[in-house]
Subunit: 429 residues, 2 copies
């Protein structure tokens, strides 16, 4: 019916295979809905013999990714191999030769995105990456297009399904971190090397991309302050729950007073907050601004099929642009904003200490916080004697001040240990 | 810096004024973020003397909308006058003369959208309407672009802020419908003539637009089955709450078995469902499909500023397309799908009756439902004697069967009244 558009794959893992299956076996449905005839021209994989659970027509598979990128019949390159190398150079090569690129690679976009987007603009082609953040949730296009006229002040949410799954099970079933992780690995919810997920790196890449689009200032993934979930204990969660909180790994990007703060860390969320009920692999992202108030996007943050839907949406948009004869669309301009120093990040805190339950203890502890201008919101004591637990929740305080107060606290004779220091979701502002 | 793009307004009410203010007084910020120089060339209003709360530079206001449409310096027409006439003909005229149109007019899109979109395509210009549904929530673009590759099976949600505000107050404070409505009118949350909101017409227009985009089959607003909230009583809500439900006016568009069902009606939602906690003027829209599972979009469904943000996003996209030298983008193809008959709509039901509390009553009632193949899920009786309340919740049943059962029920000697029949959110499937 209409002109054929050739697509080529770099990679055919879970997400890639899901999209290949749809492009090959549901092409009629796609054509009926979009009027586009998308044809898979090549699929580059590392292992030609691997079973991918789908029947791939003969002649499509290759272990030379350059052949796919250089194939004159490929107009759109779909990069789902992941990682920085060789993905980055292949994407750059595709763009430079005038091909549109659709990618799910958050790590690549967070580290080389600015250069790649510039190369795409120079070449007059599209580089689309809806699938890089939030899996099947449309968030990149809403941020960069629908909200292009809004001065966004914050983007905040749960953007890593693996850690959310692990935290959910730790909280709900009281199982230790190591045990849940091992189980998640067995079920395929966590990678053999889980570092990128549990260390916060994956979420940091996504936070960098969201911040860059939201604030129009390029934020590199490496500039995102991060803390993972590896050191969290179920014991902390029990105490937090008594005070009405549940832990979530949050990505937080804020714009205020002409500076930008982007960070990823475990955060205690009030039980009645909508984020508290986001379980398992679901992602949820808040976008706030002076005019729109607060928007919330919720959906499947990972998984082959949802992510393939996000990729397919981008492929369809690229194909439509190509058929319209143009792919030049400067989606966002990146200015220069100042990144805030970690010491200036402000939040509320929950500090758990083990103290000797004696008269005057609280006065000593309160004095330490007072000296560092950290204001205490509530205090809660559990147990008596030499091993009493003392929980303190502060008002919003800069990280620098809090750290100074905590290290002084640890030196007090009446304080046996500072068991944990956790950030608390800031609902004061 | 870059080429100027002229925009003209048709209408300057709450939404229009909010956008005019931003385009005139925040043009530097918009230019910095987007690289676009958007210039307001004309504003057509009915009453030139009306105070709009903003200082409009001299020479922009006119009471002849055609002058704005025909102004050669206007490249993008922003239609925020509402209603079908003269808005429809003005939009058509603008499109035919090669101008892009951005509109917030759900009524117009639901009744003439198909023709207008066809005219836009013929003229090679854009007709964008993100602001027509969900106020500041990006939903049109995600549905028609990000999810272009998904076979969406349902779109469901709260899309009218006025009725949600009224229902929220009725439920939470037990105030009667008439009283809440009068108060809402005083506060400006409801129009002097509230029919479009409380009668479900506004939600029906939005449901038609969502269904058309989701399923690729054009659904006209007039084809949407609707029931408003005018006849709901707080007494019904008290009974519903005891059974764990809260009333919401839902717009529901479903695709199944090759037919489409689109409807708007009050629905009892389980208290623990996320929609139950959507209060006041907030909108919440679920989109479901086999690959993406379930997405939820939540945000401000009305109000000048949020809606202006949605319009501005569309204006920016139109301007970018114009600068790129093309506005031809077939966003969606409309095929022909079958609309399902109301009698075949299936849902669960809550029926409240007043009965004489005698042996054998339930057997008689159960027999009536059984004859019409409506299966009863639970029964609950309140009070004794001749004026006992009997509540029945059914399993999912077609509307036709249910109505037959209810009319037979009303004829039973032991049934004094059928007090109310309400649809219950179907969480079985």
């Amino acid at each position: 019916m209409s002109m054929q558009i050739g697509v080529g794959f770099l990679g055919a893992g879970t997400v890639g295979s899901a999209l290949i299956r749809r492009l090959i076996y549901e092409s009629d449905a796609i054509a009926a809905k979009t009027g586009l005839d998308l044809v898979v021209r090549g699929i580059a994989v590392r292992d030609l013999a691997k079973d991918r659970g789908i029947v791939i027509p003969p002649g499509l598979l290759t272990d030379r990714p350059r052949d796919v990128v250089d194939d004159p019949k490929v107009q759109i390159v779909i990069e789902v191999m992941g990682g920085l190398d060789p993905a980055g150079d292949l994407v750059m090569r595709a763009l430079n030769s005038g091909k549109a690129v659709v990618t799910a690679n958050k790590e690549l976009m967070a580290s080389r995105g600015r250069d790649l987007l510039a190369a795409a603009e120079t070449a007059g082609v599209s580089l689309l990456f809806e699938a890089a953040v939030g899996g099947g949730i449309p968030i990149i296009r809403p941020l960069s297009e629908s909200l292009a006229g809004e001065r966004i002040t914050s983007v905040l949410g749960i953007v890593n399904g693996t850690t959310n799954y692990i935290l959910t099970r730790m909280v709900e079933e009281g199982i230790a971190y190591e045990e849940v992780l091992a189980e998640a690995q067995e079920l395929g919810y966590a990678e053999a090397d889980p570092t990128a997920d549990v260390g916060g790196g994956d979420a940091a890449s996504k936070a960098a991309i969201l911040a860059s689009l939201a604030f129009g200032t390029w934020v590199d993934g490496s500039q995102v302050t991060r803390e993972g979930i590896e050191d969290l204990s179920t014991e902390d969660f029990v105490f937090a729950r008594r005070l009405g909180y549940i832990p979530k790994l949050l990505a937080i990007a804020e714009y205020s007073e002409d500076s930008i703060a982007v960070r990823v860390h475990p955060t205690l969320v009030p039980l009645d907050h909508p984020l508290a009920s986001v379980r398992g692999a679901t992602n949820a992202i808040y976008v706030s601004g002076p005019s729109i108030g607060e928007l919330l996007f919720t959906g499947p943050g990972a998984g082959g099929e949802p992510t393939a839907t996000a990729l397919l949406g981008d492929v369809i948009m690229s194909a439509r642009e190509r058929l319209a004869g143009t792919q030049v669309k400067s989606r966002i301009r990146f200015g220069t904003g100042r990144l805030r120093d970690v010491a200036d990040f402000s939040t509320k805190w929950l500090i758990r200490t083990t103290v000797a339950d004696r008269p005057g203890v609280l006065a000593q502890i309160a004095a330490v916080f007072g000296r560092h201008e950290v204001s205490i919101k509530s205090v809660w004591q559990d147990g008596r004697g030499d091993e009493a637990s003392l929980l303190l929740v502060t008002h919003e305080s800069p990280e620098g001040d809090l750290q100074l107060a905590v290290s002084e606290l640890a030196g007090l004779e009446v304080v046996s240990y500072v068991d944990s220091v956790m950030r608390v979701y800031n609902d004061e502002s």
